[in-house]
Amino acid sequence: MTAQQNLLFSAFSAIFSNDYLASVLLVGTFLMFTVIGVIFARRSGVFFLAAEGVLVFSATAGYFANAAVRAALLGGAAEGTDAYAAALGRANALGWMAGLLCGLAGGMAFTLVFCWFLLRVKSNVLLTSFALNIFASASAGVLVHLVNRGDGAVSSAVAAALPSLKLSALSELPVLGGLLGNTGWFTYLALLLPPAAFYLLNRTGFGLRLRAAEENHIALTATGLSASRTQLYGMLFAGAAVSLGGVTLVMAGPAPVFSALPQGEGYLALAAVWACDGRLWKSSIAVLLLALVGALTHVLQGLPLPISLIQALLYAAALAGLLLHSHNDKHRHKVSLRAQRRIVEGKETVKKKKRRAGRPEKKK
């Protein structure tokens, strides 16, 4: 075999492996959380560009809280000793819980700051988000330095991974068993999230008010509700979901390391939602597609391939999605114009449009 064939072979065997599927699930999990957050923001009428900053902030806060708690509980016991083994289970469990809580708190705090600028100060949402994103990534860099420079207890400690769910029934399946039996419960949560979000948005009063905040502030105000308060509630959900995304980003892998800071994944999630017109199901499928591309970088990491170009594919895919959506939009517009003309010319009578209950009016 020549070197090229060899490379091709190893690339293919990396792609057709359980590792690839596992990293698709990992990437898909945190993208799904982020996308759900962005959808909630869109339903509250907010272009959530600061999602990137929320991801960075919650990931940093979560990781270091996790590592600090774990290091404190292990108490400097060396690896392999009995004291280490005795403390490990408790340290891991409390570590990921602390990470989860602190990540959520950090992300929510960041979202609240964003909401303050958006709803109270009413500054330009794009510029504010841009500045906030810069602040988040820069302060994460400063924080990493401060922690690494510290007494060494935290810096040398590794964060605890989020626990995985052992489903004995699934793990006995022939092909996917090894994969599904070891999936983190976060992935199952991410799978449950779209239906839950659908119910909340389309079947409850809160969802109705939220959709009114997206489409018609005046109508919302006319019912006696405060538009900005409704938006704030929607943004709280959005912030929580995106923070969960940040936490899973750094802690869901088998061995968490703090190098997986987001590289524009918040923007990718925004692109996924906007390319799908804010529809839940379509966006979930877009997440899956993006995860299929994004996981390539993880599994092809060790091979002598241009990894940066493979990573660039992800952004190219998102841009292509946006372009495709605009193309479809234009096409739809043309079709409706043609139908209108036919009706005006009297060739066709007006069809009564079937409307499913709870489905919002299409945005113009």
Partner: protein, 379 residues
């Protein structure tokens, strides 16, 4: 008090307060975290003024940021919130580096103009993509430009790793561009090069274009109201395209200036250059007015070069300056809200009163609250 407001308008007061807040943020972080406080503070705040060469270095480092900020101010005046200038900067600096490293045997009179042309073309080519997507396809220009930035970042990182990497350099960096291909130094032994002159000229030209020219009037008209611009016969799409082309070309020029003398190695492997963020924020601080852009770019670069010097001295990350720059812009936004401005003024008044009561000497700390009080008045 009104007389004071006429001479020193509230918008300028807000900007000054925001800058002070950024400096205070840096001061606070260094005081709280650095073990060697005195040395760190001296390096951070006084470093750029320690010698003529250091000050020249500050000015020449600010030059690419000025180009970027000028580009940003044109597109933002047109209310096209496109961040494609960052991608323009990256692609043009990458291509210029490659071109100059490849053309080692060619004479300087050919290389330098050719590199500038390549930079302008590359910058404009990047900026035109989101512009076209927005005008013809109605794709959100902010989103597409940000995604494009990441795409270009990765693509140029690929170029760096596969065709211009210097194996002798510690981290991923290109070979150094030979000195004979740098722009000419205009003030000897300061490092201030021809690019600074170009940036100053560009600022003046853009100011005249925006506020005294036909195209600039069109740009501002489209930014103010697209429909009104349509009624008076302007094509919003054409104006937006022209604007973004112009911005991309300027940012591309900034990339070339950066590579030809300021930072002669391409080093951005998978991470955005801080100078690009600095450029965008510098334009936001002065409300996209090209006349003031050089000053604000100089201020932000002052923060950045102080932080870089500190980073070289004690390893404290230079991102501190980026965080401070973001704080400056955020404080500026917050102060635009009358309620926030009022409560800030009240806070400082209370502080001054408390201090007066404690020390009973009348003049201590009364200067700043007075300035703050004036600022609270709405324009």
């Amino acid at each position: 008090m009104n007389k004071f407001n006429e001479k020193f308008p509230p918008s300028a007061q807000r900007r000054l307060t925001a800058c002070l807040a950024g400096l205070a943020f840096c001061l606070l972080v260094i005081l709280l975290t650095e073990p060697a406080k005195g040395a760190a503070l001296k390096t951070f705040f006084a470093g750029p003024f320690s010698s003529l060469a250091a000050f020249g270095g500050l000015i020449s480092a600010a030059t690419p940021a000025v180009f970027l900020a000028l580009g940003v101010s044109v597109v933002f005046q047109c209310r096209r919130y496109s961040f494609a200038v960052i991608g323009s900067f990256l692609l043009s600096s990458g291509l210029v580096t490659m071109f100059l490293l490849r053309g080692n045997e060619k004479p300087g009179w050919y290389l330098i103009p050719a590199a500038l042309v390549i930079a302008v073309a590359a910058g404009a080519a990047v900026a035109v993509i989101p512009a076209w997507l927005a005008v013809r396809r109605r794709v959100n220009v902010t989103l597409s430009s940000l995604l494009l930035n990441y795409l270009i970042l990765q693509a140029v990182s690929f170029l760096l790793m596969y065709s211009m990497r210097d194996p002798a350099a510690g981290q991923a960096a290109s070979f150094e561009i030979p000195q004979r291909m740098w722009l000419a130094e205009i003030i000897p032994s300061t490092g201030i090069r021809f690019g600074t002159l170009l940036a100053a000229a560009a600022a003046v030209i853009l100011y005249l274009l925006l506020y005294h020219g036909r195209l600039g009037y069109g740009i501002r008209a489209v930014g103010a109201s697209e429909s009104l611009a349509g009624y008076v016969g302007l094509s919003a799409g054409a104006v937006a395209m022209t604007t973004q082309l112009l911005a991309g070309a300027l940012a591309g020029l900034g990339g070339a200036v950066e590579m030809m003398g300021v930072q002669p190695r391409y080093i951005w492997n998978g991470a955005f250059p801080a100078i690009s963020f600095v450029g965008v924020l510098a334009a936001v601080l002065v409300d996209y007015n090209p006349a003031w852009v050089p000053l604000s770019a100089l201020f932000f670069t002052y923060l950045w070069s102080g932080a870089s010097a500190l980073s070289a001295q004690s390893g404290f990350p230079a991102e501190l300056a980026l965080a401070a720059a973001a704080v400056v812009v955020l404080v500026l936004f917050a102060l635009r809200d009358a309620r926030v401005a009022d409560s800030t003024v009240r806070f400082f008044e209370k502080l001054a009163r408390g201090r007066k009561a404690a020390a009973s000497s009348a003049d201590a700390g009364s200067e700043k609250p007075a300035a703050e009080q004036r600022e609270g008045e709405v324009e």
